[in-house]
């Protein structure tokens, strides 16, 4: 006979649940305040609008020893905007950036964002490039990216994204409610979704704080985090479901949840650590190569993973226990009342 060596040291998740919930609430409040002050940018993919991005380099005719070579490469933003206005008759915001290339060189880029939700013609990109070369004769421009989105297709795309998120949330509640009937399907489903809303808000605030514009990357991160977060919550609920049988009906909700949380703690920590390591690797590599499309995906994803770990440990269960206890209290009260009134009538 082998002895059991199970460690019964437990971290008290539920005893301090109010504190943990308060922390989450404070973070969300901070996010809301930040959002009020900084506002949020919607990408032209949602609002409609136009964007052009060029890389530019010194013309080959300029010799390396030319002292004014670096002066040639200094683009005057106002001049660029004037050229854009000339071609498209739209005002624009100009951003200049430098990044490392995979060959070890330096890449200069200029991004032109048209103001207003107007589209541009398909040859605008080339016309602007030609005019820019007139303005800056020693510099070559080549079109990296061009985007022109009609306002109606943009808002339609936005609507689709919202529908996708709402549909996903709805079907998940239904699934969780069905699978976890034993521990109160509805309470399990709804508290899981509250945890998810928390995570989605954190992802959203990350976009706001870092000034990333809300685009289809946002939707992809949101759906990924929804998947992960519900995954973590379900694994703990699964253990609660199992422990309900093991510990019997006498165990309190707090005991039950605490035991389950502790038993799954190893999994929670290790899975989230490996995940975090993977996403952090992506963030670092993307940062080194300066690849915006990956950075705006991976940074909010990292925040979402942390939020998901937090909410599955401290939010969904805490709320579930509170919900169940409240409901039992109500039931007990009702019973007591009917008993009292029953006495009176006799």
């Amino acid at each position: 006979m082998v002895k059991s060596y199970v460690d019964r040291k437990e971290f008290k998740f539920l005893e301090n649940r109010k504190k943990f919930l308060l922390v989450a609430l404070c973070v969300i409040c901070l996010g809301v305040i930040f959002n009020l002050f900084c506002g949020v940018k919607l990408d032209i993919k949602f609002t409609g609008g136009a964007m052009l991005k060029y890389s530019y380099s010194l013309d080959k005719s300029v010799s390396a020893s030319d002292v004014s070579a670096s002066d040639y490469m200094k683009l005057d933003k106002a001049k660029v905007a004037a050229v854009v206005k000339d071609v498209t008759s739209l005002d624009s915001a100009i951003t200049l950036a430098q990044s490392a290339t995979s060959e070890g060189g330096v890449k200069n880029t200029v991004t032109v964002s048209m103001s207003g939700k107007k589209t541009i013609t398909e040859d605008a990109g080339e016309q602007v490039a030609a005019k820019l070369t007139e303005q800056f004769p020693k510099v070559n421009f080549s079109l990296l990216e061009s985007n022109s989105v009609d306002a109606t297709t943009g808002s339609e795309f936005f609507g689709k994204c919202l529908v996708a998120v709402i549909l996903a949330a709805f079907f998940m509640i239904v699934y969780v409610a069905l699978r976890f009937k034993k521990i109160g399907g509805m309470s399990a489903g709804v508290t899981a979704i509250i945890a998810i809303i928390h995570d989605c808000l954190i992802v959203y605030f990350t976009f706001v704080i870092f000034g990333f514009s809300i685009d289809d990357n946002f939707i992809a991160v949101l759906l990924t985090i929804i998947g992960y977060s519900i995954n973590s919550t379900i694994i703990i609920y699964d253990r609660i479901r199992e422990n309900r049988t093991v510990m019997g009906p006498k165990a309190s909700y707090a005991e039950l949840a605490n035991r389950s949380l502790n038993e799954t703690l190893g999994r929670t920590i290790n899975t989230n650590l490996t995940l975090l390591a993977a996403v952090l690797t992506i963030v670092i590599v993307a940062y080194v190569y300066d690849i915006r499309s990956i950075i705006t995906f991976a940074v909010p994803m990292m925040a979402g993973v942390i939020a998901g770990a937090y909410s599955s440990m401290f939010i969904s269960n805490a709320l579930w226990v509170t919900w169940r206890e409240y409901r039992d209290d109500k039931l007990a009260q009702k019973k007591a009342q009917s008993f009292v009134s029953g006495k009176k009538s006799k």
Partner: protein
Amino acid sequence: MKRVGKPWFFVVALLIFALAFTSFFGVYEQNGDLQTTVIRGAKDIRWGTDIQGGVNVIFGPEAKIDATDAQIDSAKSILEIRLVSSGVTDYELYADKDNDRLLVSFPWKDNDSQNVSGTIKSLSQSAELLFIGGAPTSIHIEYNEDGTKTVTNQDGEPVDIVIEGKDVKSAVSGAIGEKNEIGVNLELTTTVAEGETQTGAEKFAAGTEKYINQQISIWMDEECISAPRVNSVIADGKAQITGSFDAASAKDLADKINAGALPFKLVTIDYSSVDPTLGSDALAAMLLAGIIAFSLICVFMIVYYRLPGFVACICLLGQVAGTIAAVSGYFAAFDSFTLTLPGIAGIILSVGMGVDANIITAERIREELRKGKTLDGAIKAGSANSFSAIFDSNITNIIVSVILMGVFGPPDTVWSTLLYPFLWMFGPSTTGAIYSFGYTLLVGVILNFIMGVAASRIMISSLSGFKILRSRTLYGDYSEKKKAELEAARTKEAALN
């Protein structure tokens, strides 16, 4: 569940390594100079326009015109012809009949001069084809609110339209008649089109009778492309245009006439273009990040979970290989799938889910061992008890991926049909990028059941049959030293109480 036989570990591991090798490197048959693909490798993956660079365009008829479904269809087929004739074969083209839109996306060809406007224009190049009685020096086309048009000549007088593009069935260049003269064979429609009273052939018969021995000029938009003289009345709807053509100019005219069958002018509603260098940097970065992350995970799993961790690494390799196979199409006969940047993110996500499945099982086995179960009992109980958690969490991800594929995928797929009740108010979108994410996630979740659950269990169970691998600590039980410590602590506690 009985312990799986010893050889099974090697069978499963070999299968996974074979899958990994073939899906990464592919299998090709060399027949002289000719190389045929038997199994597609990673280099045969079709990259999305966000990686390879390319163009996405949404075309539609001019704002005033409400096109019929049949017209959208014919516009689509014309675009197809134009894409193929300009050498683009791996394009994606969808028609959205509800909103009268055509969605096109295609990658740049190798070393293509990235002429965005030229490419888009040559596709949508419109195509108001008119056969006009007489030969005016210029014409002007104006579109009316109701979709009809008024065509006037240089003096502002209305011209006599004999037939239009939609009356033309086909135009083929080639040798004509007994003299084998180079020219264009024109075939007109012999069915009455919607909203018309006459067939193309009938109209042309009337026109050629009216303009016999005079010119009928052929106009593409407001440009005259040919002005042949009518030699005889053509009643059977089969006309020949001959003259001073060579093979190239005859083909050019035939192409233009065919393109002219496009029943309205296409305008660009949305477009986006990505330069290939932009995406290739992103791809290199993602690949590097993937390799580093994979190695980190493997080291962690082996150090922390030992034998189950080692098995997990093989399963993860299988999962990555399986996803690549599903994306590339694996067997040459299958369709391949376009992989975009979010698609790669989906692979990373599903590998994360795979890690999770392995961690859950390994944790459970460790827990059962520490409770005092025998090794076989712990493996059995650990596998059985962890299944419901893995199952439920993966199902929720299937929900996410199916919704993504339905919402952002091309129309006419199973997914979008399933979701139609929720999405009828939206047209399809060109965001194949997110569709790709849903696809890789779905494939990943399915592979999770094959690799993370089935394969991993077979391998752990099989390995536990080897005598040298039966040490409990290999599966995460406490070492004897730690057990003694725990025991001492417990007696101390008991003594205190």
